[in-house]
């Protein structure tokens, strides 16, 4: 469809406006991380790098980052295994209850966060009598991260020819060898993209986390929540946000490149 110049321009302008709306608050966060006024009055009366220095010297903050990385890596590892297994099962087989299985995978993310949170809280504490800990957070996070891996892997499998797997079997490879040498290399970038999303989802999750974290388990979002209403600490939270956005650019860039590369190869 050929678009008139005015149509192109109006779509471009509207898109630019949306991007401004998306980035304006982030820009405010960035500027406020240098705001000399601890209550973040606008316009800033002066600028300082104190908050950046304080952030890098805050032991509690680094502990929280370590906890979050630990939780996110564990949850992502579990989600990668479970998500790949479901995707392989659902992409290849038609069976009774297939749509229920796919609904089951989506459900932990489709149901509101407080519901997942209270259900798991109640399940761990009242029903099983287990103390909340870091393990309960990992279990909770893995449960809602499965879907991101599943989505990426099943989308990739639908584009991969089943003939390759058959050819591998005809040439005498066992199932494990076929998976290792044929299926897995084709899934690698999808697993990377899905794993990255799972990691990001877990790293930033707060609602389910507040319901499933034991005392003393302080993930980064919990640390932020505990500190953002303290006047001396609140500007440090701005520093964290900017560091997170900037560092996230790297993995997102690679995920994008990987997925567009493989899309170009298969089509």
């Amino acid at each position: 469809m050929r678009f008139s110049k005015s149509a192109v321009w109006s779509f471009a302008t509207l898109s630019a406006l949306v991007l401004v709306v998306i980035y304006l608050p982030l820009a405010v966060v960035g500027i406020n991380s240098f705001n000399a006024n601890r209550n973040m009055v606008w316009p800033p009366p002066g600028f300082t790098v104190d908050w950046w220095v304080k952030a890098f010297n805050s032991a509690g903050l680094w502990d929280a980052v370590a906890t979050s990385v630990m939780v996110a890596v564990s949850a992502t590892a579990i989600a990668l295994i479970l998500g790949t297994l479901v995707a392989m099962a659902l992409s290849k087989y038609q069976f009774f209850g297939r749509s229920s299985v796919s609904l089951l995978v989506v459900l932990p993310i489709a149901l509101p966060g407080v519901v997942t949170g209270i259900a798991l809280n109640n399940g761990f504490r009242t029903i099983l009598g287990v103390q909340l800990s870091m393990a309960t957070v990992i279990i909770a996070h893995a449960t809602f991260c499965v879907v991101t891996v599943y989505n990426n892997v099943i989308a990739r499998l639908s584009r991969v020819s089943p003939n390759l797997v058959d050819a591998s079997a005809d040439l005498g490879a066992g199932l494990w060898t076929t998976f290792r040498l044929v299926t897995f290399p084709q899934l690698r970038s999808a697993l990377f993209a899905g794993g990255l999303l799972a990691f990001g989802l877990s790293f930033d999750e707060i609602i389910v986390t507040t319901f499933t974290a034991g005392n003393g388990v302080t993930t980064l979002p919990i640390w932020i929540m505990n500190n953002m209403f303290r006047p001396g600490q609140a500007p440090i939270v701005n520093v964290i946000a900017i560091v997170l956005v900037v560092t996230s650019g790297v993995p997102i860039y690679f995920a994008q490149r990987l997925s567009s590369d493989s899309a170009a190869k298969t089509t």
Partner: protein, 302 residues
């Protein structure tokens, strides 16, 4: 000697791993079972069991002296949730916010998603996808907090609007709608963008060859094909709004949403059975919504 090597070779050829492999190859049902065993046990034993237990817990009570959970059957929590005006008000408010947030997000998402999918070249498209994805990594809490700073009476919005005689809405329901609309926007843009990418350009060209103006093509060709993506997007914004209690704490002033009622009853009030009964409201709302939209094929687009 030669006999022995031959024997060894044939034994190696049918090693246990190989035997399992060929058994699995012959029995696809067994293979399917093994693939599904771990993920299904995880999701059913942890998640579905927890949801079922939540339903049961809603019928339990709390001993007012010891604040211990008393197992037994009682309708008192359900009755309280159904009859107490507080729960009706908060439910209506929460659903209202969810609807408004969804509408605002879809209106904002449609033009940029269309621009990304159909007008921008591949390079620009990639840049835009990254630009939409990046804010997702900037901690949800910080973004909510950023809006607290933006909307504050000393904030940038007041500073921008004051010369025009305008005023920041301050903290309250409007602030909740703005902030949640902002937070969920990427989740709404991405499914709509993916949905638009699936609309073949040839259809758009056919439509314009047959004389349709741009707007008519959008309305009669693109929009109907986009319904599953729009529904998928609305599931995200709906569920995220229903399940959130933190945004409203940060920018909502004194107003409460369903999530707050659940959270206070789990934490401060320590009344898990009542919290479970309240949590059934968003569960029913979401299941009702999912059931209603199942036919559109939106669930495959999540």
């Amino acid at each position: 000697m030669t006999n022995l090597t031959v024997q060894a070779k044939s034994q190696a050829a049918v090693s246990p791993a190989r035997r399992i492999s060929s058994l699995l190859f012959r029995k696809p049902k067994l293979r399917l079972g093994l693939l599904l065993a771990a993920p299904l046990s995880w999701l059913v034993l942890i998640y579905i069991a927890a949801l079922a237990a939540l339903l049961v817990t809603a019928f339990w009570t709390i001993d007012s002296f010891t604040s211990q959970v008393q197992m037994g059957f009682s309708l008192s929590n359900i009755q309280q949730v159904l009859t107490d005006a507080l729960y009706r008000t908060v439910t209506l408010r929460t659903v209202g916010i969810a609807i408004l947030v969804t509408v605002v997000d879809i209106v904002l998402a449609l033009p940029i998603a269309f621009f990304m999918a159909k007008i921008a070249g591949p390079k620009l498209r990639q840049v835009l996808v990254i630009a939409i994805l990046m804010p997702l990594w900037a901690s949800y809490l910080v973004k909510a907090y950023a809006w607290r700073a933006v909307l504050s009476h000393d904030g940038i919005l007041q500073w921008i609007l004051a010369p025009f005689g305008g005023q920041t809405p301050g903290y309250g329901l409007t602030a909740v709608i703005i902030t949640q609309g902002y937070l969920w926007l990427p989740y709404v843009i991405l499914p709509i963008f993916t949905g638009l990418e699936k609309v073949p350009n040839s259809l758009l060209e056919a439509s314009s060859d047959l004389g349709a103006k741009n707007l008519m093509t959008l309305r009669t060709v693109v929009l109907p094909m986009l319904v599953p993506a729009l529904v998928a997007a609305s599931i995200f914004s709906f569920s995220l709004t229903l399940g959130d209690y933190i945004t409203v704490n940060i920018v909502g002033g004194a107003s409460q949403m369903l999530g707050n009622l659940v959270y206070t009853n789990v934490g401060a009030a320590n009344n898990l059975p009542l919290a479970a009964a309240i949590a059934l409201i968003p569960v029913l709302l979401m299941f009702g919504y999912l059931a209603a939209v199942r036919k559109t094929g939106a669930l495959e687009n999540l």
